[in-house]
């Protein structure tokens, strides 16, 4: 183990400026790859569709709070009053589940249709979200931007656009593979002497492969963490009108972020690890340079 750690340190020493630029490019391509996969695969929040009846309500009630199911009318009434007293709430409306079923309002997909909801208007969105989170009887909060009401979701992308995005994603993954492979090859080319010493000192070739595998996984991990940071930042700026951020408005307030984090990290590490696995054959070539197969 100690030898492996030492060799990892030695491997890092051999990363030249050129290799570092390649590594950085690999991380950025991986970030873009995960972003595209997210756009293509993760289910998006459906935009609120408003019926003519609903349009009669005052504008700006774009925060949806789902009420815990099974509450009595009195409890809902008490909750309504307590929410009205909140400083961050300018006004609110109760929409019952039966009204939703009647087609008054189509809810975003993450909200179950059998729940009563409040529609809230606020001058201070951040405070409202914080205060609503402290209400045990509110189970989910969704904030919709004006853009949500007007623009279409990426889920509605036409087939050709999805295929184009998929091809770009595959291309980006290919670039990550190429860059990781090329970087490890550069390092291995200047590591021929070390490899021979390791070999004839009775150490296994895994000692050489381990730093490479770690390098690839690390590129994947950093790329996926950066992509998460970006997605998280976009979700924070959900009302800024940036494309994609519109579809991330609820990311902070539900379990999607956790699931997305796990998947992104797994995807990044797997792509990075596979890239380095591809370059491991180079080790075998260098390892067997003095060996004879008859």
């Amino acid at each position: 183990m100690q030898t492996s750690l030492y060799l990892i340190k030695e491997f890092n020493k051999l990363l030249t400026k050129k290799s570092l630029v390649k590594t950085l490019a690999a991380v950025l391509f991986l970030l873009a790859f995960i972003g595209l996969i997210y756009v293509l695969l993760v289910p998006k929040q459906q935009p609120l569709s408003v019926t003519p009846t609903f349009e009669r309500f005052p504008k700006g009630h774009n925060t949806v709070a789902q009420i815990k199911t099974g509450l009595s009318n009195e409890e809902i009434n008490e909750l309504y009053l307590s929410l009205r007293r909140l400083e961050s709430v300018e006004s609110l409306f109760l929409v019952l589940s039966k009204e939703i079923k009647e087609g008054l309002l189509q809810l975003p997909s993450e909200l179950p249709g059998n729940s009563d909801i409040f529609l809230l208007k606020t001058p201070d969105r951040e405070s409202l979200l914080n205060e609503l989170r402290q209400q045990p009887q509110i189970t989910m909060i969704t904030t919709l931007s004006k853009k949500n009401l007007n623009t279409s979701s990426p889920n509605n992308l036409p087939g050709w656009a999805k295929i184009t995005l998929l091809i770009i994603a595959v291309g980006l993954a290919g670039l990550v593979f190429y860059l990781v492979k090329s970087t490890t090859k550069d390092v291995l080319d200047s590591w021929q002497g070390e490899i021979q010493i390791v070999k004839y000192s009775g150490l296994s070739r895994l000692s050489i492969k381990l730093p490479l595998l770690l390098f690839g996984s690390l590129v994947g991990l950093i790329g996926s963490i950066l992509s998460l940071v970006l997605l998280f930042a976009l979700s924070r700026w959900a009302h800024s009108g940036i494309w994609l951020s519109n579809h991330l408005a609820t990311l902070e307030s539900n379990t999607q972020l956790l699931i997305l984090s796990v998947w992104s990290i797994l995807l990044g590490v797997v792509v990075g690890l596979l890239s380095s696995l591809f370059s491991i054959r180079e080790v075998d070539k260098k390892w067997n340079v003095n060996s004879l197969d008859i």
């Binding site: 030695e10 051999l14 070390e194 021979q196 010493i197 009775g202 004879l292």
Partner: protein
Amino acid sequence: MTNIVQVAELSITNSEDELLLENINFNVVKGEICQLAGLSDFQYDVLFNLLYGKLKPDSGQIVLTGRNIVRIKNKKRDELLKEKISFIPKDFTLPRKKTIKDTLEFKLTILGQKYERDQRIEEVMRDLLINDLAGYRPKEMNHPERVKAILGVALINDPQLLIYQNPFNDLNAQQEKEILATLIDLVESSGLTVFLLTNELKSNQSSIRTIEV
């Protein structure tokens, strides 16, 4: 006299049943410098790989430092490489970007030697008369100096046996003689055994035994 290398009735064929080595027999005594002559370059490659354990013979046995290499498990062979036997293949290259001192330290570190590294490095460099080259990289040295540095790498972990294929390639007789003289001194002072896989040495050395096969 103890034999540190014992090769008996060694034969090997390739996948097309062509005989590569046939009934090879020889012994190397502990504490001597010995040259094995009479093989082609390819046969030396085959023998080197047999001694290293990469190839298995069709028949015969190879005993190095008391262990039968033919039957030994890889793990045990690796232990021998770590502690008792050093191999230098032909075309061995030194790490390009490391100084000689760093290279020697690299080998000691990967072998897990934690203590008295500097002392050991200094000792080996002094014995090989390369103590002035500690901070030099391979490209900054001439060929004889590089050969001595390679010997330093092989000897840094104080092995009992050194097996060196095609040594002193591209050296003239004078340079070869100087390096051999250094090796002879080392063998006399440390009890090391040196086994050279080469057809001919350019310089006449009475203290080197030649085995003809």
